[in-house]
């Protein structure tokens, strides 16, 4: 197990290095960039040239990369140009990451809480109207562009009905910040309404974000339960005269959970990407929004860091899933 973990982490380092080089080279070969971001439309050719030299952007790309790498290794990824100009990219990331984590956790919880039971029910009522209905819903769920759904949700529940807040993480109430996780902060400082307020702000974005993971988890659960139901060992369990409850819980669900756990991991990883599409709609100050804004404004330092972090998080989440998989599946654990 340990060996495996080390191996995966080793691969991660490789991935990150290659990725950083690619991203850096690519981003820096584009026109514009820091200079035009800093000077804006008031730039003149003279000032542009001067600033380019001042920032060292006229140097060969590998020199720049080497400098970037050295700085990055000391934890300095530069200063944001567009997302939150002037702030250190790492700081921006640190203030925004909790937001995305909060959102993703909420979304994945929603997806799991609805996906697994519904998937299980659909499998049990295979071919029935409930099954067909929920399959249809999940197929449509995948076909609807996330950002459109987000828009629609916001339009209906925030703008038209006004029952939920339409944007942000929290209203501008007096809330003490401890960890940066607003819901958690409220609980820690016993500012219940701060937590509640933050939770309310999470509802719509996390529903939008949860649709795809929900649909996927639902379908995988359903398929897995169907598969497992026909397995020989379920028949064995039946032949032992076990109660339905035991058969379902111990023999069907526990096995069906194996692929579901994998899926949950994958989807959690993909949520980061989904956040790029939803956070903007809800003006949710997370890394997804930072990415989208970063791309739009060519905020290079921000992007360099975020893409790398996204890759790292994604790989780590997958590693975590693999490890948790090993916890459930003794066949994997053994090796």
């Amino acid at each position: 197990m340990l060996r495996y973990t080390v191996r995966r982490l080793g691969q991660l380092v490789l991935v990150v290095l290659v990725l950083s080089l690619l991203i850096f080279a690519w981003l820096h070969s584009l026109p514009g960039g820091p200079v035009s971001a800093l000077l804006g439309e008031r730039a003149t050719p003279e000032s542009t040239r001067a600033l380019t030299i001042q920032l060292g952007l006229d140097q060969p790309i590998f020199v720049q990369y080497w400098k970037f790498l050295l700085r990055a290794l000391s934890g300095d990824f530069g200063v944001s140009l567009g997302v939150q100009p002037g702030a250190s990219v790492v700081d921006v990331f640190l203030t925004r990451f909790p937001a995305t984590i909060e959102l993703s956790v909420c979304a994945i919880i929603l997806a799991i809480v609805f996906g697994i039971p519904l998937g299980y029910l659909a499998a049990r009522r295979r071919g029935g109207w409930f099954d067909n209905l929920s399959i249809g819903a999940s197929l449509i769920g995948v076909a609807v562009p996330v950002f459109f759904l987000a828009f629609l949700l916001k339009y209906i529940f925030a703008v038209k009905l006004g029952i939920l807040p339409s944007l942000g993480r929290q209203d501008a109430i007096d809330a003490t910040r401890v960890t940066g996780f607003f819901v958690l902060d409220g609980l820690l400082t016993q500012e219940w309404d701060a937590s509640l307020n933050a939770l309310k702000h999470l509802i719509l974005p996390s529903i939008a974000l949860a649709t795809i993971p929900f649909a996927v988890i639902f379908r995988i659960t359903r398929a897995a339960v169907l598969d497992v139901q026909d397995e020989d060992y379920v028949r064995t369990a039946e032949s032992k005269g076990l109660t339905t409850r035991v058969i379902r819980a111990r023999h069907v669900l526990r096995n069906a959970m194996l692929p579901v756990v994998t899926t949950i991991g994958l989807q959690t990883g993909a949520l980061l990407a989904g956040a790029v599409l939803t956070e903007g709609v809800f003006n949710f100050p997370g890394v997804g929004d930072a990415l989208a804004t970063g791309f739009r404004q060519h905020d290079y330092p921000m992007l360099e860091m975020l893409v790398l972090v996204a890759a790292i998080v994604y790989v780590l989440v997958n590693l975590l899933v693999d490890l948790s998989y090993a916890l459930i599946d003794p066949r994997v654990r053994a090796k």
């Binding site: 060992y233 064995t236 369990a237 032992k240 005269g241 076990l242 109660t243 526990r254 003794p330 066949r331």
Partner: protein
Amino acid sequence: MALLEVRDLTVQFRRRGEEPFTAVDGVSFDVDPGQTIGLVGESGCGKSVTSLAIMGLLPRKGNQVTGSVRFEDTELLSLSQSQMRDRRGRDLGMVFQDPLSSLNPVVSIGLQVTEVLERHRGMARKAAMVEATELLDKVGIPDPGRRLSEYPHQLSGGMRQRALIAMALACRPRLLIADEPTTALDVTIQAQILALLKELVTDTGTALIMITHDLGVVAGLCDEVNVLYGGRVVERAARHELFAEPRHPYTHGLLASIPRLDAPRGEKLVPIKGSVADNIPWDGACAFAPRCPNALDTCTQVTPEQESLANRLLRCHNPVEVTA
């Protein structure tokens, strides 16, 4: 009175948009306590379906079971699902063909054994564990205490099958159905398992229904043998009679087509022509007729009825003559 009386057991599979398919067609036999009954036949002749029908384990949808299966005084077919659950594992045990896929890969062997004990004998986990250790020991698993916390993939094929047998026997059922318990195993392991089964049957007086396609297995183990073809019993006899003088052309053909270790070499095998796929429905004909060397015209016109001869039951218009 017999322990298990199967009368006219018929299983029909119905699929939407397809002709109903009769997999088991009026099968009847009795099993007495302590007796070992063999069900033999080639792939697809309905052996497994018969056993599953007795156990009430056929899929809930898409099939129709008629006839009667009496276990002691109870009509099993008319029991409700939950009543059947109480019986299974306690009165009726079953062992399946593929020991790996028949064991739950993510549940420890110990739990898989103890759960039967807990369910039917109301034992507490601790006591059940002790009992399970004994059971594993009894079926010949070395170092049973340690095996309890292991998982199926950590055992070899033979050990897995032993574990399965231990589970089936945990509550000392009066009837054990073994559906090709050795097909997936090597000959040396097969010999171990067969010896184990034999020993268990004689020791506990459990009745055993042995399902197999291997006539050799039956020859050493069963008191009475039913030969199935196309879902019907075509011949039944005590094993000595059956092997000494097979009357049904199918049984005869099977025996002639198997190379025997003890027969002198150089003799050509006599295969049955065609394959199982060539059989025809039983109504208005003999299903075996297209492959039968003895086939008469009537064979394709009249369904042969089951006849009771002196030492056997036979379903054939033109049985093989007894030689010598």
